[in-house]
Symmetry: C3
Subunit: 142 residues, 3 copies
């Protein structure tokens, strides 16, 4: 059994930004000695999300709009209020959106490739940018 | 260490439909040579979800109603607008519901059985049916 | 390859309560013989959630408020109506919140430690307390 652990850094440029990181993840997996097993992909942060869906431009607009409708950036949150929190970033919305969308995905590996459907992309959503973001990839298998 | 990889196809019959696939998954797991480890269950799609909860009829009505309230089928999404997207299915709501509920679950295996609580069922939610849907099961362990 | 399986019980005291269980999970992991691999942490229930985020008091208030706004405790759910369900707990909101937030997390292990970011805590959210709750930890690796 092999365990392969690596990480990389993303630089986001916008306050709220969605990107397709499937190719980056595929490159990491091709460097690993594991052909069959599981890849666990995590952000090491609490204000950006990681999930799988179709990466289509208009759909990503819809996703950002949904995030703003369910969890508005200016939602009057206590975490953004200096009376209750010493966080000065005003990023409660980013934490809560991340709690809803998740910050981790697990993907099966078979024959050295990720088992993904035709329209499935690995999507990284920045909700509190611009920032540098660490993504870890843990691969176990044989 | 063993890695066991299989898949099966579900045929959904309704536009929006929720079903309990615990027995199907259990049969797959009983065919695998792995007694102790992890089973990773994924759909290969972006408009149907997979999650664990109690499969009770009225609760599943509540879930469908919640999905419609948070992400209405006719929500005026850009992904459904021919000016911004060439997708002709009008299924943005299905993508967004799937992003909220998830399309993957991981379950521990112990002694050849899934470690699930008394009321925990593996639930498949079709949001863009009727369609044929592929579900993959990757089992690793010993 | 090693597989290590354990569980522990939490006693919650409030109807709706959020707690940081990172230390409890860390203790379990330190007792395991696995240094590098994956830890899969699950609740065995359908009305309490498990996820990773920053455990900051005001933010946890925001999370509870968001849960109540998206899925109100008195939301007129069918699961809470004796005509459609024999569940007498009035806990549909708890099921639905759990479906949104998830009941499982997977964390990479490296050198005997969980790979978590500086602000990442493992958070347990009780939505139908007070109750006793079982949490299982499955660790696989080497």
């Amino acid at each position: 059994m092999k365990v392969f652990n690596t990480s990389f850094t993303l630089s986001t440029e916008e306050r709220c930004e969605v990107s397709d990181i499937t190719k980056l993840i595929r490159e990491v997996i091709q460097q690993s000695p594991v052909a069959n097993g599981i890849a666990l992909i995590n952000t090491l942060h609490t204000t950006c999300a990681l999930f799988i869906n179709e990466f289509q431009s208009a759909l990503m607009d819809d996703l950002r709009n949904l995030a703003e409708r369910l969890v508005p950036e200016r939602g009057g949150f206590r975490h953004d209020d200096p009376r209750y929190s010493d966080c000065e970033r005003g990023n409660a919305h980013a934490h809560l959106r991340t709690a809803l969308l998740g910050r981790s995905i697990a993907v099966a590996l078979s024959g050295g490739e990720m088992v993904l459907g035709r329209f499935q992309s690995i999507i990284f959503a920045e909700f509190d940018g611009p920032r540098k973001r660490d993504v870890t990839v843990q691969i176990i298998g044989e």
